[in-house]
């Protein structure tokens, strides 16, 4: 076997020999199950009339918003909410090398540092895709079950649904590689985690919301990573609540995400990866 395939195999072994990956996968599954199941039941119930809108306080007795095409929105939760998990996995896997000083044995076994970083990127791309499947098991698996229970067609025979599944897995895979990029850019594990959580849960949603108010900023807002990801997946609750917000085409969204990953990883290579290991 050549050096690069061996490096990829070693990175896979690193990822699977600690508990982190399945703990994160488990939390991802639980979280998305709750969201997709809960909201699937709520909107499914409203749509099918099983829940009487006038009895609830929400919407001031106006009734729920008319949602056509509910299933893709429920399914997209796996990425629109779950994307933080592959980023975290990538960032933890990368910053852990600095934190536990495992860069030393890593670079002794394979002194081609660029190759090691490339192998890590490939590995986290696949791991992100696996997280995409885990997220879909919750959003599509549980979501479809709940919606059918309320008589909403889960559109499982629709080819558009399966195209969304494919794009969602690609988006999650790209998020895994963005995590690697962030990890080399900010090798401090604590700082990396804080940035992931603060940016994905607070800063970006706020920026996306704020950018919608003028046309010029809306043009920029669609290039934010979360917005690009939603564009790639093709549906999200966030875009639903901002019908005026312009979005990218799915393939443009994918390219924007890829650009984030490449820029962060190459930047991080120079910031930390090729530096002295002391």
């Amino acid at each position: 076997m050549n050096r690069f395939p061996r490096a990829v195999a070693a990175e896979f072994a690193k990822l699977t020999t600690t508990r982190m990956w399945w703990i994160l996968a488990l939390v991802l599954f639980g979280y998305i199950t709750l969201l997709a199941g809960g909201l699937g039941a709520l909107f499914g119930g409203l749509q099918s009339g099983a829940i009487d809108p006038s009895s609830g306080g929400a919407g001031g007795g106006q009734g729920g918003p008319p949602i056509d095409n509910l299933p893709p929105l429920i399914y997209s939760f796996a990425a629109s909410v779950g994307y933080v998990f592959p980023v975290l996995l990538g960032a933890l896997a990368t910053t852990g090398e600095f934190r536990h000083q495992t860069l030393t044995p890593t670079f002794l076994a394979n002194p081609k540092r660029g190759g090691v970083l490339g192998a890590k990127t490939v590995t986290l791309f696949v791991a992100g895709a696996v997280f995409g499947v885990v997220g879909l098991a919750a959003s599509l698996g549980i979501g479809a079950l709940v919606m059918s229970a309320f008589g909403v067609d889960p559109l499982l025979g629709d080819s558009e649904t399966w195209a969304l599944v494919g794009r969602l897995i690609l988006a999650m895979a790209l998020w895994g590689t963005i995590g690697v990029g962030l990890g080399v850019l900010v090798p401090s594990q604590v700082a990396s985690i804080v940035i992931v959580l603060a940016f994905t849960q607070f800063v970006e949603p706020l920026l996306r919301f704020a950018s919608m108010f003028t046309e010029a900023t809306a043009g920029m807002g669609k290039f934010l990573p979360g917005a690009a990801s939603d564009a790639l997946v093709g549906a999200s609750f966030f875009t639903l609540t901002s019908p005026t917000g312009s979005t990218l085409d799915w393939w443009q969204g994918g390219l924007v995400l890829l650009a984030y990953a490449i820029v962060a990883t190459i930047g991080g290579y120079f910031v930390s990866w090729k530096r002295d290991v002391t």
Binding site: Q101, T102, T106, F107, A109
Partner: protein, 300 residues
């Protein structure tokens, strides 16, 4: 049997900001012997070893194994084994998995992991998470990593730190065996006494520069050897020495005679009929020359 390569440092220099951590260092390390790389803490030992292994980029100069830089070695782990610090592990990973990862990366067969774990005495703990290991066990795991490719060259940074007396005895035998098999063994330490029993050659650095290079015995030459002698009747002993023309000073543990040969002192006392209770050569000539070379005992 793997054969050792010659390690060669040529004018290697490392500057951190304005500080010269390592300054124009040149020396070679030969196979078949154990070479002690000595100096006080902060002398630049670790930085020098990390430059040798391609982990730290030298400001200038080169370090090679048989003329090849570490990063250009086709099979690095099968050429050079290195143990640098006792903490390069993910605490949540088992020893077997830890070594397995690097065996995969280096394209080594999985049996090597079991072999080296047995070799360093960790076979019974192989499937425990490293987080629960003692410092001594971590040192052994570090050595297992160094041995995984059965390399001809071993580079070990302070391998004796944190070992218990049994472990120290074990590693001394281990180093001797490795050199006897024809491997190149370079071992750093800040204490000469720690490696004195295992090394053939010494390279001593102080403040980033070469202070001494030679055999272990070469350290012994500069100090004038003395003999300590004592007896129940010190006055009679003093008279006998004076009569024989041996100069001496009176120390806490006896008379310190300026005479290299204990047999001659013993003969003087015997001829004068003076009973003696202590007669031996003054020890620690090596440690004294070591401390003199590295600029006093400021690291201790």
């Amino acid at each position: 049997m793997p054969t050792g390569a010659v390690i060669e440092f040529t004018n290697i220099t490392k500057t951190f900001g304005h500080v010269n951590a390592v300054n124009d260092l040149s020396f070679t390390v030969e196979p078949g012997r154990v070479t002690g790389f000595l100096g006080p803490n902060g002398a630049g030992k670790t930085t020098t070893l990390r430059m040798l292994l391609g982990l730290v980029a030298p400001t200038s100069g080169t370090a090679t194994f048989g003329g090849i830089r570490y990063r250009d070695l086709p099979q690095p782990l099968s050429t050079v084994g290195a143990a640098l610090e006792a903490a390069s592990f993910h605490p949540g990973r088992t020893a077997r998995n830890h070594l397995g990862i690097y065996a995969i990366a280096a394209g080594l067969p999985a049996e090597r992991v079991t072999d080296v774990l047995r070799k360093v005495g960790l076979a019974d703990y192989a499937d425990r998470r490293v987080g629960g290991y003692s410092l001594g066990m971590r040192q052994r795991l570090g050595l297992a990593y160094a041995m995984i490719g059965d390399p001809g060259v071993l580079v070990l940074d302070e391998p004796i730190n944190g070992l218990d007396p049994k472990g120290i005895k074990w590693i001394r035998g281990f180093l001797r065996d490795m050199a006897a098999e024809g491997r190149t063994v370079l071992v750093s330490s800040h204490l000469l006494s720690e490696v004195q029993q295992s090394v053939d050659e010494v390279v001593i650095i102080a403040k980033g520069s070469l202070a001494h290079r030679g055999t272990l015995a070469s350290l012994d030459t500069d100090t004038a050897p003395q003999v300590i002698v004592d007896g129940p009747d010190r006055d009679a002993l003093s008279d006998a020495l004076t009569a024989a023309g041996v100069t001496f000073s009176i120390g806490r543990t006896g008379l310190l005679a300026a005479e290299p040969d204990p047999a001659r002192i013993g003969h003087i006392a015997f001829s004068a009929g003076v009973e003696i209770s202590v007669l031996h050569r003054q020890k620690s000539g090596l440690e004294d020359s070591f401390l003199a070379l590295v600029g006093g005992g400021d690291s201790l």
